[in-house]
């Protein structure tokens, strides 16, 4: 499980540089302004998690960073150039996205779905090469899906299916991965399994940007947290500086105690609730 397959140029020089950033972006959705004049830098090599209450614009920010949404003002910058100046397949070789919802084509097997991740490298003349085969193989190894590679996607459990979608993104071999609520609808064991996988991928050098609902997961797995509220960034930095009683109350309006996680020694949020 220690094969490094992404186009990683350098080992992480933590938080010094940024390959992906949003510069003064204004994001509208159906004429409604979600974020205005928002600037965010994703530290290279980081495991960045965007947190915030429902409808705070965190998924919108992720969609903007991954070029799914076009900001009405400002721009997203990838490796020093505006992201719109790239060809769409070029972007797809640098940024991989795990969308909130995807649909598997009818009657497709696991390996064939994972193979879709190779699209940015293919053409009509070169529909399937040895590199494609190797990338699919390694993506399935990393996600532990080799054993089920021949099965139909419709007959898998939710946890297996999500790992297959992750394998598809990994087959894309991008140095930056964007994950939109990757653990939603999974049980706790599968959530942790997936987050551990992302942490491994991050330790191997990939930059990971995820939207997560669970603050404790964010605090435990991220090394950079962006806290958002009403479309604006309230705070960003190391989980130990961000996940505090004051900031949690400011961002979520939740009174809580933050204690030391006895296992990982990261902040652990314990909501106060009503005293009965």
């Amino acid at each position: 499980m220690n094969t490094i397959t992404a186009n990683i140029e350098r080992k992480k020089t933590l938080q010094a540089e940024s390959r992906l950033s949003a510069e003064n972006v204004t994001i509208k959705y159906d004429e409604r302004v979600i974020s205005s004049n928002l600037s965010v830098k994703i530290p290279d090599g980081s495991f960045t998690v965007i947190v915030g209450p429902n409808a705070c614009g965190k998924s919108t920010l992720l969609r903007t960073l991954s070029k799914l949404l076009k900001p009405s003002a400002g721009q997203v910058v990838l490796d020093g150039k505006g992201i719109t100046t790239y060809k769409s397949k070029e972007v797809a070789r640098i940024l991989g996205l795990l969308p909130q919802s995807s649909t598997a084509p009818d009657g497709i097997t696991v390996a064939n779905l994972v193979a879709h991740g190779r699209y940015p490298y293919q053409s009509f003349i070169k529909q399937w090469s040895d590199e494609d085969e190797a990338a699919v193989q390694s993506a399935m190894e990393l996600t532990d899906t080799l054993e089920i590679s021949h099965r139909y996607v419709d007959e898998l459990s939710g946890g297996q299916r999500q790992r297959v979608w992750v394998a598809m993104v990994l087959a894309q071999q991008t140095p930056i991965l964007l994950l939109d609520e990757p653990t939603t609808y999974l049980d706790i064991a599968h959530q942790i399994e997936l987050l551990e996988l992302f942490k491994d991928l991050n330790l191997q050098g990939r930059t990971i940007i995820a939207v997560l609902h669970d603050l404790n997961h964010a605090a435990r797995y991220a090394n950079h947290i962006i806290a958002m509220k009403n479309g604006q960034m309230i705070a960003q930095g190391d989980p130990r500086e961000i996940v505090t009683e004051q900031i949690v109350e400011e961002v979520f309006g939740l009174k809580c105690k933050v204690i030391d996680d006895p296992v990982s020694h990261t902040p652990l949020v314990v909501p106060l609730g009503k005293v009965r």
């Binding site: 969609r63 991954s66 070029k67 799914l68 060809k87 769409s88 397949k89 070029e90 972007v91 797809a92 070789r93 940024l95 991989g96 996205l97 969308p99 909130q100 919802s101 995807s102 649909t103 598997a104 084509p105 009818d106 009657g107 497709i108 097997t109 696991v110 390996a111 064939n112 879709h116 991740g117 699209y119 940015p120 293919q122 009509f124 003349i125 070169k126 529909q127 399937w128 090469s129 085969e133 190797a134 699919v136 193989q137 399935m140 080799l146 590679s149 021949h150 099965r151 139909y152 598809m168 894309q172």
Partner: protein, 348 residues
């Protein structure tokens, strides 16, 4: 490195295109192609003038009598080739629409393009009071395209929603059908007769001159469709995933719709509306191959269906040649009931 278990068998091709060929798709396509060949030979031999294989051989080597030659080369052959090419075109058109709408009912005959073609043809017949082949074909083409544009504008707001396209298409189709009835009722009896005859698609009396331009268009667009197949399959993953793989959704969708519309409009302009083939061929093939990733088996199935239906139409009542549209319409009715029944049952 151990080979990946894809769950399906593939042949790796290194030249001229680096690709994987699905063995099951290949087998099904080959079997269908064999059946087409057999039916085509039967179609060339059978008829009022019965010919043997030897007679056919003589025709193609130029040793046969002039009359026999004319019957085979000018009467029977264009009809068979047209059935094969148009059947393939209709089937691929259906496959594209069904993939874009992700619904087995999303086919050009259901969503109203064929009704639009009929409206166009009707208007030409009624206005010019004659039935020149070219005029009707042009009317059908324009009618089909206008309908397609109308449905596109009505249905494709803020990205595709397959279901929306189908609902809008069925509505437009119904409106056009009543318009067609109104036009027919208001016209003189003999004109209405010509128009109604065109309305049930037919290959009767088709000649090389009439069929060749449309066949060329269909063949060229089948090649375009083959090139656009991979982006189409990416879009089946959903808009976000497709975009993140580098697909530009709107232009890709537009090109695919254009290909599918022409693949229906060109055959319809020549034959008149022939239903069922576009709707059913991709679905029947899916049952056989358990995969909808390639156009080739669907095209072969469409060709076989139209050719088979046309031969049935010529033979089922001795002495009378039915329009092929009647046969496909009856088949289509049964098929539609079956699909709706299945969908209703799986929804419960």
């Amino acid at each position: 490195m151990p080979r990946i278990q894809f769950g399906r068998r593939y042949i790796r091709l290194k030249w001229p295109i680096q690709m994987r060929i699905d063995v099951k798709n290949l087998t099904v396509t080959a079997i269908l192609a064999g059946a087409i060949l057999v039916l085509a030979l039967y179609g060339l031999m059978a008829g009022t003038m019965q010919l043997s294989l030897k007679d056919l051989w003589q025709v193609f080597s130029g040793e046969a009598a002039k009359m026999t030659s004319t019957i085979v080369i000018n009467w029977r052959l264009p009809r068979i080739i047209a059935a094969v090419v148009f059947g393939a075109g209709l089937a691929v058109s259906g496959a594209v629409f069904q993939s874009l709408t992700r619904n087995p009912l999303g086919s050009p005959d259901i969503v109203g393009f064929t009704s639009g073609s009929y409206t166009g043809a009707l208007i030409v017949i009624l206005i010019s009071k004659s039935a020149s082949f070219l005029g009707i074909a042009a009317g059908a083409l324009i009618g089909g395209f206008t309908t397609a544009i109308l449905i596109y504008l009505l249905a494709f707001r803020k990205g595709t929603q397959g279901f929306r396209l189908i609902i809008v298409g069925i509505a437009v189709s119904t409106i056009l059908s009543s318009l067609n009835s109104m036009l027919l009722l208001r016209s003189k009896a003999e004109v209405a007769l010509t128009a109604a005859a065109w309305g049930v698609g037919s290959l009767n009396g088709i000649s090389w001159d009439q069929a060749t331009p449309a066949m060329l268009i269909v063949v060229v667009l089948l090649i375009f469709a083959a090139v656009m197949n991979r982006p189409l399959r990416e879009m089946e993953l959903g808009g976000d995933a497709a975009k993140s793989h580098g697909i530009r959704i709107e232009p890709t969708q537009l090109v695919l719709i254009l290909i599918a519309v022409v693949l229906t409009a060109a055959p319809t302009a020549v034959m008149g509306p022939v239903s069922f083939v576009a709707l059913a061929a991709p679905q029947i093939v899916f049952r056989l191959t358990k995969s909808a990733q390639s156009f080739a088996p669907a095209a072969a199935m469409g060709a076989l269906l139209l050719l088979g239906a046309d031969i049935v139409a010529q033979r089922i009542i001795s002495g009378t040649i039915l329009p092929v549209g009647v046969v496909t319409l009856s088949l289509g009715g049964c098929y539609l009931v079956w699909v709706l029944f299945r969908q209703a049952r799986s929804a419960m």
